[in-house]
Amino acid sequence: MREVCIIGVGQSTFGKLSERTAADLGCEAVSEAITNAGIKPRDIQVAYGCRMYDAMTTAQSILKSVGVTAIEMINVENACASGATALRCLWKDIAFGLYDLGIAVGVESMTTSPVAGKLIPPQKDDLDGHMGLTMPTYFAQIARRLMETHGATVEDFATVSVKNHHHGCLNPRAQYQKEFTVEEILKSRMISDPITLLQCCPNTDGAAAVVMCSRSCAKKYTTKPVKVAASILLSADYFFKKADLTSFTMGKNATRMAYEMAGIGPEDLDLIELHDAFACEELVHYEDMRICKPGESIPLLRSGATALGGKIPVNPSGGLLSLGHPLAASGTRVVGEVALHLRGQAGKRQVPNARVGMAHMLGGMESGLEAGAVGIHILTV
């Protein structure tokens, strides 16, 4: 198995951009990643595209605009973990020697998709979905369990949102660059008790791309390659195997596998980017990732350790809560974000001297399963 590196990252503008096509957004991210990597477009040997809504030959529709055609292109879907899935596939191709250099791009145009302005509708045979289970009602019940078993308060959930919105103010690519107080978060419109509007990520249009290559290939382009120390993708297990709503079994397992693969432990991490579609969710991942002891996610949050300037900043980008969540793009975006920090190029939100970072993306909701899939990438320099 060969060592794989990240040499380029790119992100489009994030926002409500209904006048722009998905291909156009994808092209913005891909062009930036190509420039950032210092490669020529036709150095790309393989490309993975991903998009949840109205997906058809996404990679082709984007790459033709930068002069790349007639190579192997694969389009993948794994709900919100699509971008992480595309990167995992690209990593495998390079690690096992099929190709030396490739790109993964995730894109979503939520405002022009069939789910624009709506909740994601249940499949015909999704019993729980028809009985009223939606993303907000599911995560609201996770929040309720955290209140029951962890002593969490609504102020704690709001604090996650305050933190990530503060980080988002330092990120020029964030959809919402605005500070909020705990009180403002709690006073915003109730969505699904105890989750209020400002504890939910917005629906967003945007794209993100990452260029990966082998270690030997990276030498041609950069003196500062970022190593992909772990790449893990796991699908969800049965819901009945779940001990409590306050943990994702697959997240716990995937993180453990990633630590083993990278040969590091949670204490070695300098930053984490994770799926914070709802504020309460971030707390669940703290424990699954073992950055605190079981049951101690609330004290960890309250200590300020997970804010910029703390021991282990979580979502220094601003997270999905302030960046917005273009579903398939978020999985590539978080990996790109971690790479920027390890290269010392994250601007005002930079985690100082970051050398090890983890990117996490959770996706999907399927009746009978605890979710859909989870992708974990650990990067090092």
């Binding site: 909740l119 509708p121 249940p122 045979d125 019993l127 729980d128 979905g129 028809h130 009985m131 009223g132 289970l133 939606t134 907000p136 009602t137 609201a140 019940q141 996770i142 309720r144 369990r145 029951e148 419109r189 109730m190 969505i191 699904s192 008790d193 105890p194 989750i195 049965y238 819901f239 009945f240 195997k241 709503l245």
Partner: protein, 129 residues
């Protein structure tokens, strides 16, 4: 109006009226609702039909202030932990003098949950005892 279950095979006529139809793996004891064709845990093929208890304990809940596919806000929903060891997700009745709390005793009953044209979709709901 034509009455249709929200999913085929979820109800059974029991000694105390209509109950939720489940099954149980005779090898490992795992219960399934809705019924499973084989044991998803131990892969055993020897399952027996049972009727689920009518009462369970509220495990988690929410009152949603936005619509779902079939329900207008506000609607309450939650997971109820059944004595058989499984958790069932269902709509909950909002009762003014019985605010929801985790652990409260709940009872299932069947009801029309939504209608589409001439079809009434019959499902299950829980209410606090």
């Amino acid at each position: 109006m034509q009455k249709i279950p929200v999913k085929d095979g979820i109800f059974v006529e029991g000694p105390d009226g209509v109950a939720l139809a489940a099954n149980r793996c005779k090898s490992c004891g795992r219960f399934y609702f809705p019924k499973s064709k084989f044991c998803l845990d131990c892969m055993g093929n020897n399952l027996e039909d049972i009727t689920l208890s009518k009462q369970g304990k509220l495990y988690s809940f929410t009152v949603a202030q936005m619509p779902s596919t079939h329900f207008k806000p506000p609607y309450a929903a939650g997971f109820v932990a059944m004595p058989e060891g499984l958790k069932i997700f269902a709509p909950l009745d909002i009762i003014a003098d019985k605010p929801f709390r985790v652990g409260m005793e709940m009872e299932v009953y069947t009801d029309t949950l939504w209608t589409e044209g001439e079809r009434e979709y019959v499902g299950y709901r829980f209410k606090a005892l």
